[in-house]
Symmetry: C2
Subunit: 383 residues, 2 copies
């Protein structure tokens, strides 16, 4: 059986005995819903709703790109869903009008996670169609993580304790999804802003769980492994040490966690946030590291949201990279968040075009040392 | 010395003896300009202008991304250029007002190519800065290809003969750039539409010439090489044969060239355009293939521009992949254009976000077989 690294944190302070409560519910269409709360009072909630009572029969499939040597996932969902909600309908808010159920019940909880109704990957996937390229079932899981019941908040405006609960939720999802036999990689992420294609503005992220290690993490892990085998130390750990010595690109520093614009950034305001030690996954973080993580994350997001006056909710893609859940030890892995913000000035986007998408060579017309100064200059209150 | 494959076409009908004329000029800031014409009358033109007389001292550098194991190119150009042109100023149109010179002279020519004033790569690059990651000079060339003097045209509305001239120009740039000792890969491309970040709407493309084979072509060539060594045939040639047999995703078919949505498409309306035989580069195409190329390209662009009524100038990124110019034979290479259009419906963009940029697994919610039907349904006049 696979052993998923959630041990160090659990030994430190067991999950269920402390501040986090969790309850699993079943939606009328067969999907699962998990409610999380940091309070010690019992979780209270109405029945698990769904915008539709139709059973979800997701059957995505993979196709092989022979020239790139990579899989892509395909599903025949079309955009014409016969659903006409009222103007203020928010599917990620708690249900208040039983006539128009949302994805979440009313009740007393802080963070909610549910299985996506139109998933790009599903553990139920079966019988892929034949094609002139190899195909396979699109096995995996796609979950939606609702950060709060309050649609007016954003990740960075939540109280520290709430952010820390979210970190615990990410760790719990990593352990629960990663323990499934078919799941080899778990990636939480957040697309934020219309510039990233977001249409629902309620604060939320997603988690994709893959049945293989996908290309970008695979590339990063391969280079981390080479470094670990050559030097007996982590590649990112060594890079973080060099960033600390250099100092010019550091955005937020704390005892155990660091946020910085890497010397090799591919977006003008790209920031990486990582523990200074090579913790392989978010489930490996100690309580002290989780406290630091919450504070450094909140500080970074405050800086982002105050960088450009015209962009109070600074858009970005945030992805979490960590150890695969393939049952093997991954001493080369080092948990980190990568933030890719699309803006290069208050009103100019950084587009990925010819040389980026067609050749894979990114072209930057500003230096990480300069953009780091802009983020360093944003004064942040004590959190 | 390197031998760049322009032989078959030149043997077929030598460049300078036929319809294409070419003249090299020097701009006041030291950059080169080439004028091309398909007519047999002498090229006539005014002096080569530049929007600025300041010498271009481009010095981009490369930085190594240790986790991805890839180079990126960095240059400290900022966006504050002290230049206030009149409202209707178009730097890619021929100069008409000597007070505000553009990039091109007035005169009698059809296509113009010049060195980019703010290049991401330059053969003059030297002395890269030290960093905590490996750095190198950002060696290469960045050229702008102006398709026509007429800013009201687009690539697809040009006459067939004009498009064929452009194909000859691409072939000439491939041979000329590829023959330079430092250049190992030549990639023409076109970003079209504000959705792709384009700010100049005069019809034009670009050419990047790299001192190494960049990651995406390198990946494609590696898989093509494996296939060629295993089967003695081209991977794309075999795929094209399978697409022809299947038939469901063909967009434009001709005797020697094919346009199709590949079974492994990563954008809803992604089209590949390639010769049916495995011609390694655009310089290897015969005159018959160039005629077909022009007609298939014009037909495809007509279909794109008439696919969505609301998008008469359908945006896309177009990249040309072909054999490296590293002095070695590349029997595995197979010239092709890849078109990546950002729209998935007349008013919905396909965004690259979490799973695409963070994991490298593309997620498609429509099938290539369906989108191919939409392009097949567009009726095209005889060209």
């Amino acid at each position: 059986m696979k052993e998923i690294p959630s041990s160090s944190w659990l030994q430190d302070r067991p999950f269920k005995e402390v501040t986090v409560q969790k309850k699993e519910l079943l939606k009328p269409d067969g999907r699962k819903l998990w409610l999380y709360s940091s309070v010690n009072t019992p979780l209270e909630h109405g029945p698990a709703p769904s915008p539709s009572s139709e059973a979800v029969n997701a059957n995505p499939h993979l196709r092989w790109h022979p020239l790139r040597g990579e899989w892509g996932t395909y599903a025949g969902y079309r955009q014409n869903r016969p659903f006409l909600p009222p103007d203020n309908y928010n599917p990620l808010a708690p249900t208040t009008n039983a006539e128009f159920p949302t994805e979440l019940p009313s009740g007393n909880y802080d963070v909610a996670v549910f299985q996506n109704r139109f998933p790009s990957l599903s553990l139920e996937a079966h019988s892929p169609p034949e094609s002139i390229v190899p195909t396979a079932p699109g096995k995996g899981e796609c979950e939606v993580v609702v950060f709060t019941q309050d649609s007016k908040q954003s990740l960075g405006t939540l109280p520290l304790e709430h952010i820390k609960l979210l970190i615990d939720v990410w760790a719990d999802r990593y352990s629960e999804l990663g323990s499934k036999p078919d799941i080899q990689y778990v990636m939480p992420f957040e697309n934020r802003g219309v510039e990233m294609g977001v249409t629902l503005h309620h604060p939320h992220g997603q988690i994709y769980a893959y049945d293989h290690v996908p290309p970008v993490p695979a590339l990063e892990l391969e280079n981390q492994k080479k470094h670990f085998e050559a030097y007996g130390r982590g590649l990112l750990e060594d890079h973080i040490r060099a960033e600390l010595e250099d100092g010019s690109r550091i955005v937020v520093d704390s005892e155990t966690m660091l946020a910085f614009i890497p010397a090799f950034a591919r977006y003008p305001y790209e920031v990486w946030l990582a523990p200074k030690r090579a913790a392989p996954s978010i489930a490996d973080l100690t309580h002290l590291e989780r406290d630091d993580f919450a504070r450094v994350l909140k500080t970074l997001l405050y800086k982002y949201d105050h960088l450009f006056e015209a962009r109070p909710l600074f858009p970005y893609l945030m992805v979490m990279h960590q150890a695969p859940t393939d049952g093997f030890e991954h001493p080369e892995a080092h948990l980190h968040l990568e933030f890719y913000p699309p803006y290069r000035t208050p009103d100019k986007l950084k587009y990925l075009a010819g040389t980026e998408l067609g050749a894979g060579l990114v072209a930057m017309d500003n230096l990480p040392e300069n953009t780091a100064k802009d983020l360093q200059a944003v004064v942040v209150p004590e959190f």
